[in-house]
């Protein structure tokens, strides 16, 4: 029975606001074939596939029905995890650990340009209490931002600074489209879209895909001499109704992180984790999520940012890729965090590579209103 699972390869394509010349099949084939070619893996050697996409985003009930041929699923075992890409990696890992499969290709796609995103997001809310209020991802996040700022008396420009940091850093990332030298003032001057969130603090719908390959420990040796091990994983769901939670914290993320830390044997995340890639759909999450992850005290997210520890040259770089704010669609966003973390561990991040040697990295993904469903993965060089 396999004991451990590793990432043995990955492939990304550039995310854009609209990739009009791509059909969804083109989007997915680019990364699936890219990955298999890179590994030198024949399609018949591919054991099984876990895909990540959403029916509502694709405008297609059974969204993975568009892609069986291009993901190599012809007469193969495939399953779709309709959530975030990080969870798809976790599920792929379990499928291998069960002993039934040796390898698993995990891929995610979204073509958000094709659908009315705020109408789609509104469909997440129950028709009785929340949907009629016109909730979507943005305004539910805005409620959370407001609550968080209020609880810890954090000035709004701290959130804006977090966004400015992300967008500026993203200039070095060829796979995203929002990289631009940005100041806190520019963020605060951008249009207010749902107070307290300004336009530059909010992720943009995008089109993209990415893929990675998992393998058990004996298979890993066959394909690569630099496997990146999945050392820990945790998922947790929060309450559904926004009023049932204290939005100033992310209880689900804390619990997911604890499970992942326990599995990986991490007792002191502030010291033992070398790098963090979290899914910042909204600026304030770059402050709130490190707190929930136990990387600093509750309420001290902005102090952590100010300390320089999270800088690319710092002791615990945070989102050296530029994060989701830099330009990732849903589903792909979480899987991209895992890939960006793995790249840093392997020293393959190019212009984004941090100087510090990265042995343990944390990748976080979420989906749902105000990050209701959370997933934490720990990657390790050994």
């Amino acid at each position: 029975m396999p004991e451990r699972v590793a990432i043995i390869g990955y492939f990304q394509s550039r995310c854009e606001p609209e990739k009009r010349e791509y059909h969804i099949t083109d989007l997915v084939y680019e990364v699936s074939s890219g990955l298999l070619n890179q590994l030198g893996m024949e399609i018949k050697e591919l054991d099984n596939i876990v895909s990540c996409s959403q029916d509502f985003i694709d405008g297609r009930t059974i969204s993975n029905r568009t892609i069986p041929e291009v993901e190599g699923a012809y007469l193969k075992s495939e399953a779709k995890l309709a959530g975030d890409g990080t969870q798809a990696v976790f599920y792929g890992m379990m499928r291998i650990l069960s002993g039934k499969y040796r390898t698993c290709m995990v891929l995610a796609h979204a073509k958000m340009s094709e659908g009315p995103q705020n109408v789609i997001a509104n469909a997440m809310f129950d028709p009785f209490f929340q949907r009629p209020l016109g909730f979507d991802e943005l305004n539910s996040a805005a409620l959370q931002a407001r609550r968080y700022l209020h609880r810890y008396k954090i000035p709004e420009d701290k959130m804006a600074e977090a966004a400015a940091t992300a967008l500026t850093r993203a200039q070095k990332n060829e796979n995203v489209f929002r990289g631009k030298k940005t100041t806190t003032r520019q963020v605060l001057n951008s249009k207010m879209v749902a107070s307290p969130l300004h336009e530059l603090e909010v992720y943009l719908p995008a089109d993209g895909a990415c893929a990675l390959m998992l393998a058990d420990e004996t298979a890993a040796g066959k394909w690569t001499d630099q496997p990146v091990w999945l050392a820990g994983a945790g998922v947790c769901l929060d309450s559904y109704y926004l009023g049932d939670r204290d939005l100033a914290e992310s209880r689900a993320l804390s619990k997911a992180a604890k499970k992942a830390y326990k599995m990986a044997g991490i007792k002191n995340p502030r010291q033992e984790i070398d790098l963090v890639e979290l899914s910042d759909y909204f600026s304030f999450q770059r402050l709130l999520y490190p707190e929930a992850l136990g990387l600093c005290e509750p309420g001290n997210g902005s102090r952590l940012m100010d300390s320089g520890k999270s800088d690319p040259e710092g002791k615990q770089p945070l989102n050296p890729s530029g994060g989701v704010l830099a330009g990732n669609p849903l589903c792909v966003s979480g899987l991209t965090r895992v890939i960006e973390s793995a790249k840093q561990i392997r020293g393959e991040a190019g212009k984004l590579q941090v100087k510090k040697e990265i042995r343990t990295a944390l990748s976080q993904g979420s989906y749902g209103p105000a990050g209701q469903s959370q997933c934490v993965l720990l990657l390790s060089a050994k």
Partner: protein
């Protein structure tokens, strides 16, 4: 006599205007329907199967398709039905008019079938195995409906 509690329902309707990108292959296919009244299949670079609808990859081979092959306009009707029940059509928001006939047609030179309307809607007049041909609309827009339907070959 006790009254049953009145059960309420909340109606929620939404309009989801999706714009599906055809991509380069399907754009070629639909332009050919519109401008040339020709139907094209896409051939696998490995096994040579000609696929319709066209697609970038042949699933069984996991290899790219690399050639356009003109198929039809005649073919063999391999499956058919005549629909009698009506239902809400998500394409139009209205009930679909019935009865209508449709089927799976194996166009000449293609290896997979295409699903399309038939000119007939009486099952006694339709047979599996009958030869049919595409009929194009006068006005064409670059959509599958540029082919109006398939009618029996005289």
């Amino acid at each position: 006599m006790t009254q049953e509690p009145k059960l309420l329902e909340v109606s929620s309707q939404a309009n989801y205007p999706y714009n599906y990108s055809a991509g380069r292959l399907l754009s070629f296919f639909f332009r050919a329907l519109r401008d040339q009244q020709k139907i094209y299949g896409r051939k696998c670079s490995k096994c040579g199967k000609v696929y319709i609808p066209p697609r970038p990859v042949c699933g069984p081979c996991f290899a790219e398709t690399n050639e356009w092959v003109e198929v039809g306009p005649k073919g063999t009707l391999e499956c058919f039905t005549v629909v009698y029940f009506t239902f809400l059509d998500p394409m139009t928001g209205k009930k679909r008019p019935v009865p209508y006939g449709y089927g799976l047609i194996k166009l000449d030179r293609a290896d997979t079938r295409i699903q399309h309307f038939l000119s007939l809607n009486d099952p006694r007049k339709i047979r599996v195995g009958m030869r049919v041909e595409a009929v194009f609309n006068e006005e064409r827009e670059g959509k599958l409906s540029d082919i109006k339907w398939f009618r029996p070959v005289e």
